[in-house]
Subunit: 397 residues, 3 copies
Amino acid sequence: MSKTEKLAQHLEKLRINNMYKNDFYWTWDKTDDELDAIFTVADALRDLRERNISTKVFDSGLGISIFRDNSTRTRFSFASACNLLGLDIKDLDEKTSQIAHGETVRETANMVSFMADVIGIRDDMFIEEGHKYQKTFMDALDEGYEKGILEQRPTLVNLQCDVDHPTQAMADLLHVIHEMGGVENLKGKKVAMTWAYSPSYGKPLSVPQGIIGLFTRFGMDVVLAHPEGYEILPEVEEIAAKNAQESGGSFRKVNSMEEAFKDADIVYPKSWAPFKAMEKRTQLYREGDKAGIDALEKELLAQNAEHKDWSCTEDMMKLTKDGKALYMHCLPADISGLSCAEGEVDNSVFDRYIEPLYKEASFKPYIIAAMIFLSKVKDPVAALRSLEKRGEKRKEF
Amino acid sequence: MSKTEKLAQHLEKLRINNMYKNDFYWTWDKTDDELDAIFTVADALRDLRERNISTKVFDSGLGISIFRDNSTRTRFSFASACNLLGLDIKDLDEKTSQIAHGETVRETANMVSFMADVIGIRDDMFIEEGHKYQKTFMDALDEGYEKGILEQRPTLVNLQCDVDHPTQAMADLLHVIHEMGGVENLKGKKVAMTWAYSPSYGKPLSVPQGIIGLFTRFGMDVVLAHPEGYEILPEVEEIAAKNAQESGGSFRKVNSMEEAFKDADIVYPKSWAPFKAMEKRTQLYREGDKAGIDALEKELLAQNAEHKDWSCTEDMMKLTKDGKALYMHCLPADISGLSCAEGEVDNSVFDRYIEPLYKEASFKPYIIAAMIFLSKVKDPVAALRSLEKRGEKRKEF
Amino acid sequence: MSKTEKLAQHLEKLRINNMYKNDFYWTWDKTDDELDAIFTVADALRDLRERNISTKVFDSGLGISIFRDNSTRTRFSFASACNLLGLDIKDLDEKTSQIAHGETVRETANMVSFMADVIGIRDDMFIEEGHKYQKTFMDALDEGYEKGILEQRPTLVNLQCDVDHPTQAMADLLHVIHEMGGVENLKGKKVAMTWAYSPSYGKPLSVPQGIIGLFTRFGMDVVLAHPEGYEILPEVEEIAAKNAQESGGSFRKVNSMEEAFKDADIVYPKSWAPFKAMEKRTQLYREGDKAGIDALEKELLAQNAEHKDWSCTEDMMKLTKDGKALYMHCLPADISGLSCAEGEVDNSVFDRYIEPLYKEASFKPYIIAAMIFLSKVKDPVAALRSLEKRGEKRKEF
C-alpha cells in the first residue's frame, strides 16, 4: 500500500466537512481533526510529488498573494503551493507603511478576485490591524459572492497576521512530528518558546503566539519565557492555557530563559516586540506621528539591549535534555558573530542545526498546499486517490 | 441548448473575418459585428467558466503586459484573461516618467516578443504619446514578423491610451446591456457622461472619450457635460457625432451637469483633465521643464477647485429618470467624505451602487479574454463549441 | 523526415551523458559534444514550436530567476524558456548593491528551492564575486539535496557572471552558424571581438570573455582588440589560446581596432571596463568606500573618453571583408547620434544590421530552454521524438 493510500485511509476517518470553502485564519479556529487533515494532506502531496505524480487540481485559476510586509520564505512557499496545485500567482503590491481603510479594502478585494481561487495575505505589521485587514477583505468577498459579483468565493490562507502565523506554526509542528517519529510521541515533551535578544526592533509576535496556541494542543509541556515587559497578546495566552488543560499538557510562563531551557526537548528562541509597545506603535501610525514612532523605536532598542543575556548560547543548550534539544527557528535568525555582533543564537549552535532548520522550512509549501486543497476540493479522500490513480507525471521524460 | 451554444449560433452570423491576427486599438476601428462578437465571446467564456469548463486555448505562451501608468484593476483583469486562456503573464517594467523613443521601442518590442502571443499596453500619461507608443510597438512587431525574427506576431490589446480605453468602455457597455436586458433595449436611453470634481489632477481623458465613442453606436442619447475649459479630444467628439447619426441616437455637449443628469437613464460622472492642458503638459515633459510641470499642476488644481459643484450628489441623482439612473464609474472614485473631503460622488450615492459598480468591473477580464480569443483563434465559433464539447474541468475534483 | 527527427538523429551520436542533472556555468566546462547538443536541441525546440507542437516537459514546477543586475532581454529569455517547457517563473528580488555573504546565500538557496527545477542567476556586477555567488548557491543546493531537504536538485543556468555569459555567447554562435550556413563553415572565419567607446561606465567583461572563450573552439581566427589598459581576465585569454590551438584556429590580441576589423568576417564592437579597475571596484564595495567608488568612476570615464575613436563607424566597416562583415552586439548598444552623442557604433551601421541583430537575440530563449532540457531530461533523444509524436498543439484551435 502506498504512503498516499495510507494517508487517504487516515483522512477518511476525520470529520472535516467544514473545511470545504472555508478560510484559514488561526489554528485555534480549527478542530483537532481539521489540523490532522492538513498534516495528512501535506504528507500525501509531498509523497505524490516525490514520486513524480502530478497533483494539479486546477487547469487554470489564480492565487493572489498580498504581502504587506517583506517576505522571501513565505512568498516562495505560497508560490510553490499554488504551482503544485495548478494555480498561477499574481502579487498585489500594497503600500505597507499605511493602515488600510475598510472601504478601500472592500473594493480591492473584489477587483482582484474575479478569477481568484485563493488569497494569501501577510499583514503582521500592526497589532490590532493585521487580522482586521484579512477579515475585512474576506467579508467583502463573501458579500461579492452572495451578490453574484464573483462566480466563486476564493478562500483565505493567513500567511501571517498580528495574532497567528498558522502556516509557520503548522510547518514547525509537522517538522516536530517527523523528528519525533509521530504525533503520538509529542505527549509530555517540554517545549521552550523563549524570547531572545536581537539588535533589530519590532519583530512580530505572531510566531510565539502561533507556537503556544498550537503546540499546547498535543499534550506537550509548553513554557513561554521572556523578560518582564515582553508580554504577548493575553487572549492567546488564555487559549494556550485552555488547550493545555484539554490536551493533558501544560502551559506556563516564566521570566528566565534558563528555567525554560532546563530539560527542554525543543527550544524556539526568538526575538519579538512587547505587545504594549506594538499597540502604542499602531496608534502612532494611525496618528501619523513620525517623531513618536522614532522615539518609540529608540526606546525599544534600549530596552532590548538590557537583555543581551537572552541568547541561545552553547551553555544555554547544555541545559536542555541531554544537551540535545531540537533547536527551532522560523528563519532568518540573528546569529551572533555572523549576521550581527550579538543576537538570538550562537553561530556554532545555529550551524549544528542547519539541517533540521531547513527541513523545518521545507514543510511550509506543503502545509499551504494542504490548506488550499482542503478548502477547494469537495472530497479530498477521493481526490488524493484519483491523483494517485491518474498518475500523470509531473515531469514527463 | 446551452447558453454557450446559443452564443455560438449568434457568433456564426457575424462577419468577423478581419479580427483574426488583428490588434485592438480603438472601438471605432471596429465594425458593429466585431464589437458584437467581443460581447458574445465574453459572455460565452463566462458561461463556460461558471460551469467549470476549461477555456484554455494555449498550452504555453506569454501575455506581455506593459503598464506605463499605475494600475490594479486593469493589471489583474489582463492577468486573469491570459490565465483563463492558458497564457502566462510577464510584466515589462518601464519607467513611466519619460517619453519613450521610437528606436528603443522598436528594439524592446522585438526583444520581449519571441514567445509572446499577446501584448497588453497601458500608456495614458501623455496626450499625443500613448497611442503613438502602442502603434510604434506593434509596427515593430509587424516588421519583426515579416523578417522572420518572430515566428508569430503577437496581437495588441490596448489597455488604455491617450485616446481610448476600449477594455473599460466595452466592459461598461456589456454591463449596461446586461442591466437593460439586452442590446435591443439601449435605443433611446439617455447617457450622461459628465465631468466631476476631484481634488487630484491630470486624470486621463480616455474614459470619457471611450464612452462617447462607443455608447453613441447603439442609438442612445449621449450627452457630454463639462465645465468650460475641460474639452476632450475634438477628433473623438466628431466620431461620436458621426456614430450617433448612423445609429439613430444623438450626441450633444452641454456645460451643465444638471442638464446632463435631467431624466438620464445612465450617469457616468468622472474627473478628467482639460485636453489643452494635457497637450501643454506633454510638451513640458518633452522639454524636461520640471518647474513648468509644477506650475501647470498648481494652475489646474486651482481651475478644478472652481467647479466643486460638479459632483454626483443625492440632489443631482434626483434629477435622473425616476431618480434611479444607473450610476457608473471605472473605479476608483473620489468619494466625498470617504476618500476625500469633496469629490466626484456622495458617499451615500456611491454606497447604494456598489453592487452594480463591482459587476461593471467584473466584465473586464472577459472582455479582454474575448479580444485575445478573437485575435488568436482562427474559427472562434468552432472553438467555442469544441471547448464546450471537450468539457475539461477547470477545477478537477 | 522532419527537421526535429534529423536533429534527434544527430543528437543520438553525441556523448552527452554528463549533462543530465548538471549545471551550466561556463562554456569551457563543456565538451564539444555538449555544446553541439545544446545547439541541436535549441534548433529542435524551435522547429517544434514553429510547427505549433507543445514542448512542455513539466506539468508544474518553478524556474527561479535571480537578477542581481538589471536585465530585460535575458529576463524575458529565461521566462520564455521556462514557459516553453512548462515551468512557472518566480523572481527572487535581491539587493544588487551589496555583496552577498556565504551563509545568507546558503540559506536563501535552500529556502527558494523546495519546488524549483531550475535556477537562473545573473550576477555580473563584481569581479571575483559573480561566479562565487552562483557556486555558493549551487553548492548549498547539493548539500540540501544530499541531506534530504530538497527532493530534487535544481540545475543552474548561468545568466551572466563576472567570467562568462554563456547564454549570450551560445545564442550569438548559433546565430553565426545559421548565418554562415552551418558549423562546418566557421573554420577560418575572422572574428573581431573589439572594445568600443561608450559614455557609460563599468560594463561587464563577461561578453568579450564569453565570445573569445567560445568562438575559438570552432577553428575561427579570433582577434581580441582593445586600447591598452582594457585587459580582460587573463585566465580566459589562456583558455581562448588553448581552444584555438586545439581547434586549428587562432587567437591573438591587438591594440588597434583597425587591425582587428581588417578583412574580418564578423565584428563584435562593445564597451567593457578594465579588469584591474573592476577588481579595485569590488574591493571598494567590500570596504563600503563610497567616495572611492565615485572617484574610480570618474577616473574610468576620463580614461574611456581618450578612446572615442574606438567606434564602429562606416569607415571602420569598410575595412572588413568586402565591407560586409556580420555586425554583432548583445544589445542594447550605445548608438552614436541616437542613444548618445558618441558611442559604440554609427547609427547607419546599426540600422543596417537591425534584422540580423534581432535574429541573434531570438536564439537566446531557445539556448536557455535547451540548457534546461538537457539538464532535466534523462533521454533527450527519446524525449524530442516523443514530443513530436505526441503532437500536442501549443495553440489549440
